[in-house]
């Protein structure tokens, strides 16, 4: 088993436990909110389970850049500005923001995170 597969396996296990979903629902492409039905309170549980499974510490702002998305400097008319996207990419180098960049509505950001993003994030912490 490769390191990447091992990370995915543990992330999958954490998500199955935290969200009460089936193993086969947790694909790499699945979005946390839209496909797996994660609600805000679930992320507390997910973060805790990932910290325990991998022995890492996950500061909230690394996964949830609320400070950027609510900063008037980076948001105009409900959309993240070019400057905001740049800051987001620096903060979340593990996330695939290509699709979001096409129409960067703040309200859509919450549904951006996929299982694969989560795996990439964890991998970056190991």
């Amino acid at each position: 088993m490769t390191a990447s597969e091992e990370v995915f396996g543990k992330v999958q296990e954490a998500l199955v436990e935290a969200l009460g979903v089936e193993n086969d629902e947790v694909t790499r492409e699945a979005t946390m909110v839209g496909d797996l039905g994660a609600e805000s309170i679930d992320f507390l549980d997910i973060v805790f389970k990932l910290e325990k499974a991998f022995g890492i510490s996950i500061p909230r702002e690394e996964l949830f850049p609320d400070d950027i998305l609510t900063n008037a400097e980076y948001v105009q008319d409900g959309k993240v500005t070019e400057g905001g996207i740049k800051v987001l990419k620096e903060r979340l180098p593990w996330a695939n923001l290509e699709k979001f960049e096409q129409n960067p509505r703040v309200q859509d950001f919450g549904n951006l995170l996929t299982v694969n993003d989560l795996c990439s994030y964890v991998q970056s912490k190991l």
């Binding site: 309170i41 507390l44 549980d45 973060v47 805790f48 910290e51 909230r60």
Partner: protein, 180 residues
């Protein structure tokens, strides 16, 4: 209406763990009504007792001034049914605490025998949910005294905990204010 599903704190270590006792009695309405002819203590009320134990463990960390609610039951595995005359011991340990929530693990003993395992997630509500506290401070203080929380509560290094000053002030005000 009373909504206490714990009788007394047996152990309380600030920010770490708490143990409460719940004596099950036929005098309680839900026992007889829940399944007539087969009086037993519903699991949902054990969960509520665990939530009260864990919620107070968390709430004490901010002098009982935060609004904390049970947000999610991540795990709840139960064994034998508790019946009138039985005693439950609810043991809670704090696993993780963040700005917006916390996770606790729970173990239940039924007459001294391991009976249930739980994991609960709490949300810590911010000002979006209003400034008013969930409980009138003097009422909450009375409840905590009744539950013997201040009798057994200690800090991790064993020092007894004190009743927060704002609660003592609220008690004095409640006792000296004439109802209108």
């Amino acid at each position: 209406m009373r909504w206490f599903w714990i009788d007394r704190f047996e152990k309380f270590v600030v920010g770490t763990e708490a143990v409460t006792i719940k004596n099950v009695t036929l005098a309680e309405e839900p026992l007889d009504d829940y399944l007539p002819g087969y009086p037993h203590y519903p699991h949902a009320l054990i969960i509520e007792g665990m939530a009260q134990t864990g919620g107070l463990l968390l709430s004490q960390m901010e002098d009982f001034q935060q609004k904390i609610v049970l947000a999610k039951i991540s795990k709840a595995h139960f064994g034998a049914i508790a019946q009138p005359g039985d005693q439950l011991r609810l043991k809670v340990k704090l696993l993780s605490r963040q700005l917006d929530g916390a996770i606790v693990s729970g173990e239940v003993e039924l007459n001294g025998v391991p009976n249930a395992e739980l994991e609960l997630t709490f949300a810590i509500l911010d000002d979006k949910f209003g400034q008013e506290p969930f409980f009138i401070p003097s009422d909450l203080c009375r409840i905590l005294r009744s539950l013997k929380l201040f009798d057994v509560g200690v800090t991790p290094d064993g020092q007894p905990i004190q009743v927060p000053q704002h609660m003592l002030d609220a008690e004095v005000e409640a006792l000296t204010t004439t109802p209108t």
